[in-house]
């Protein structure tokens, strides 16, 4: 009888590290660096060589970048299933994996489905002849943005100074999306906060409270009050530049956050005000908000407790988003944070991430139009988020009507992330979405700060180029200027929701 192992469908990775053994000197760094135990060192004769088990590689590319000889590259090993457009490899793989675990399949970052990405179907205009483009290298090109409740006319303002000071000034219309202490580590948060402060932007705490090391950066921090109320205390309500009530998240509309007990280490337990190693599970709804009136109460409560700081409400983009947004603005929110279908997450059920919510492009266009129709657009700023990949996406969002744009995943990328989507594992090999001390140590705060600064500066230059080539020197004239945009290959229905004309018109 042949001896064979019981097969375990699902335990196979699509990617694997391939080693050039001629170049390898057997130093073993790759095996140390791989936090998923994909690589082990084996003895071959006198030498030690790396070997891959081809079960857990997620193409994070950590080994490739840390190999001092450049002897590793990641290769794909696609599942060559019998062709089937219904049961494609992704579906089959997921069923296999779940059959192995019996659990809700978790994933990290934003939806990787092929649901249409409207940014890529929208193109910018440019000046030719009659209106000169402006050269940002030589002329003023201003991106200063103020967030908060404005007025519809000057006469409404009694005290100009109070009004001006009630708004939040950004040097460019960019903020750092909420990523909680716990889902990411303190090193990453410190780097974000430093860049936000230095560059005149905002960073958001996410739902995990604010660690005491971050207090020097409170003047540019938006502190979150989520359904779990982690870290929320009277002192907390005194510390922020602004507050964010989190109702929903693009990657998991309708459900709450989940930080596994394994990740609840000392600093996190202290900051979240929960016992060590206990699961931090935030409820799906806020249990004191069952209606729009309740939201108004919470907004007012936070305002009173915080000395009338601006309050932002974060919602996931869902079908009826325009009406919901209108209610939120009327309930007194100073900012509305719209998180779209492709928004990232540190841990989310993939079935929710991939099947719930709508793209932020459509939600943003619908909300901006609705608030204008109702003549309340000035009462709240809109921050758009969810799958913003580059400066062009940012500027398209601004032209659709956003006051500012939030980026999250792009910031992880700045620090080495290769979008392997395993943030939920707590084993991030780049040391970002992990609190394992050995892994967190990999993220040097100064280095991360520099990388993020570079990304922001690079985008800023590009945003100025896009303004300049449209003959616009102030971001205010770009905001809501949908005539700058044209759609390609979109249906009339899509164009009408986006409020954009087709190319050639």
């Amino acid at each position: 009888m042949t001896n064979f192992q019981t097969p375990s469908p699902g335990l196979r990775s699509t990617y694997y590290p391939s080693f050039n053994l001629e170049w390898c000197d057997g130093c073993g760094i790759c095996a140390e660096q791989c936090s998923f135990n994909e690589i082990r060192m084996e003895r071959r004769g006198e030498q030690k060589i790396p070997a891959a088990n081809r079960q857990s590689c997620g193409a994070c590319h950590r080994c490739e970048y840390t190999c001092p000889r450049g002897a590793i590259h990641i290769e794909a090993r696609p599942f060559h299933l019998r062709e089937n457009s219904l049961w494609n490899s992704q579906q089959v793989h997921r069923a296999h994996l779940q059959s192995a675990s019996g659990a809700v399949a978790l994933t990290g970052l934003g939806a990787d489905t092929d649901v249409p990405n409207y940014w890529d179907s929208i193109l910018f205009n440019a000046c030719q002849v009659t209106n000169p483009s402006i050269d940002p290298q030589r002329e003023a090109m201003e991106t200063i943005t103020y967030l908060g409740t404005k007025a519809s006319r000057l006469q409404e303002i009694k005290d100009y100074r109070n009004f001006n000071n009630s708004l939040i000034r950004l040097e460019l219309p960019l903020v750092f999306a909420p990523m909680s202490y716990g889902s990411v580590n303190l090193n990453f948060q410190v780097a974000l906060a430093r860049v936000a402060q230095k560059k005149g932007l905002l960073w958001y705490t996410g739902e995990g409270g604010m660690h005491s090391n971050l207090e020097p950066f409170r003047d540019c921090a938006v502190l979150q009050v989520a359904s779990g109320r982690f870290g929320v205390s009277p002192e907390y309500l005194d510390k922020g530049r602004a507050y964010q009530i989190k109702i929903g998240q693009g990657a998991k509309p309708g459900i709450g956050g989940h930080l596994p007990g394994e990740k609840v280490l000392e600093g996190i337990s202290e900051t979240r005000m929960i016992p060590l190693h206990s699961d931090a599970i935030s409820p799906a709804p806020q249990h004191d908000i069952y209606s729009i009136e309740d939201l108004r109460l919470l907004i007012n409560g936070i305002k009173e407790a915080s000395g009338y700081k601006p309050v932002c409400v974060k919602i996931a983009a869902v079908h009826n988003v325009a009406a919901i947004a209108s209610g939120i603005v009327r309930a007194g929110a100073d900012m509305l944070y719209l998180d779209g279908y492709r928004g990232g997450s540190g841990a989310t059920p993939s079935i929710v991430r991939d099947n719930v919510g709508i793209p932020v492009e459509l939600a943003l266009a619908a909300v901006d139009s609705r608030l204008r129709e109702e003549k309340i657009r000035h009462r709240a700023s809109i921050v758009a988020a969810g799958g913003i990949r580059n400066s062009a996406d940012v500027m398209k969002a601004i032209a659709l009507g956003a006051d500012a744009v939030a980026i999250g995943t792009a910031l992880l990328l700045a620090c080495g992330c290769h979008v392997c989507q395993r943030c939920h594992s707590g084993k991030c090999p780049w040391g970002i979405t992990t609190n394992d001390p050995a892994l967190s140590e990999r993220l040097d705060v100064d280095w991360a700060e520099e990388r993020i600064t570079n990304l922001v500066e690079g985008w800023h230059h590009e945003m100025q180029e896009i303004m300049g080539l449209n003959g616009i020197y102030d971001i205010g004239s770009f905001r809501g200027n949908r005539l700058i945009l044209r759609g390609v290959g979109l249906s009339d229905r899509e164009l009408s929701i986006l409020g954009v004309e087709h190319a050639g018109e």
Partner: protein, 364 residues
């Protein structure tokens, strides 16, 4: 590229259009025959208390429709065809003028909350957006706008402007670029007492239009310049801003200049204006000459990519794209001034005490 000319007598002395015609025709190179126009303030002394609605319609059916519409919504005091001389231009729309009074509040469906101006504006916008092929392109009291497709000389003759006189004249010579050359798209653009002529291109148009729409304005002329007239009506009439502040809103100083301002009330107000009226700001190269019931002012973009010069002698102020055109209007100017980039130049007109203000500038 477009040509602009304007003159104002700050004591309200009316004159024929000879000088303005010469000044705009001197700048023929700045146009291409696809648009020209004039605005005359003080054009209809016999009906000075009525809104003078100038209607352009592509056919006589349109004229009939609009007359029915106006009968329903206004009290028409007098209506007649606008006299034209169609010798040189024979392909043109139909023109008619109606001198109307708005109904008393509560009558003809007029809501109490509307002022006369608000009501008239709302009805004008309604006609322009709803009645096909019909446009009310001039709606002020004692103000006439005459414009169309042709050279300035042709349009002047077509509308027989020798028969009109006014204390304030605007003239425009158009070189249409990004928008079609059609009769409604020629300058000046007028709304109630505000008329503007514009040289340039408004890159913020998309933002401005959506902003205006949220206040009930509807942009129907297919030309970026119309937003300037509507913005002036919104800022000055509806929001009660002084002309200086309205000018600041349209061409605000750069943020870097705001930061250099001395701390104090002036800076805080400037900041508040910039923040509240961000969407009303004009971007792109522009020189605008605007007339309103109390005077005239110019405005250019922050880098002054379009020219504007001002001259003065006695009670007269003159405006033009080119200095030569100023001298065409007045050979012996006492003062010639070229406003700096973004600097408005405001001439106010005070009928009460008949005092002429000297050239007043509000430098940022």
């Amino acid at each position: 590229m477009c040509g602009i000319a304007g003159l104002i007598n700050s004591k309200g002395k009316r004159e024929h259009g000879n000088r303005i015609k010469r000044a705009i025709m001197l700048q023929n190179e700045r146009g291409n025959g696809l648009g020209a126009g004039f605005a005359v303030y003080g054009a209809y002394p016999e009906y000075r208390d009525q809104y003078a609605l100038h209607v352009m319609a592509k056919d006589s059916k349109g004229l009939k429709l609009v007359e029915e519409f106006l009968h329903r919504d206004f009290n028409i005091i007098h209506g007649q065809d606008i006299p034209v001389w169609n010798f040189k231009i024979n392909d043109h729309p139909f023109f008619r003028i109606f001198f109307v009074d708005p109904p008393a509040p509560g009558e003809k469906g007029r809501e109490d909350r509307f002022t006369d101006d608000d009501y008239t504006l709302d009805r004008v916008m309604e006609v322009n957006a709803r009645v096909e092929g019909v446009f009310i392109y001039s709606s002020g009291k004692d103000i006439g706008v005459f414009k169309g497709v042709g050279t300035p000389g042709d349009i002047y003759d077509f509308f027989r402007l020798d028969d009109y006189s006014g204390h304030t004249w605007l003239a425009h010579n158009r070189f249409p670029t990004n928008t079609p050359g059609w009769w409604g798209g020629a300058h000046p653009f007028n709304l109630l007492s505000y008329s503007i002529v514009h040289n340039g291109e408004i890159s913020s148009y998309g933002t401005n239009v959506r902003y205006l729409e949220s206040f009930g304005y509807r942009c129907t002329m297919q030309t970026d310049s119309e937003v300037v007239a509507y913005l002036l009506d919104l800022l000055i009439r509806k929001h009660g801003l002084p002309v200086e502040d309205a000018a600041t809103v349209l061409a605000p100083p750069y943020w870097t200049s705001v930061e250099q301002e001395e701390e104090g009330d002036k800076k805080e107000k400037l900041l508040a204006l910039k923040l509240i009226y961000e969407s009303a700001m004009l971007n792109g190269p522009f020189a605008v000459l605007a007339a309103f019931d109390r005077g005239m002012f110019t405005l250019t973009d922050n880098t002054k990519l379009r020219p504007m010069t001002v001259g003065q002698r006695g009670d007269y102020s003159y405006f033009a794209s080119e200095i030569s055109a100023l001298y065409e209007m007045e050979e012996e100017l006492e003062q010639v001034y070229t406003p700096r980039a973004g600097e408005p130049c405001i001439i106010t007109f005070d009928q009460q005490d008949n005092q002429a203000d000297p050239i007043k500038t509000a430098a940022h």
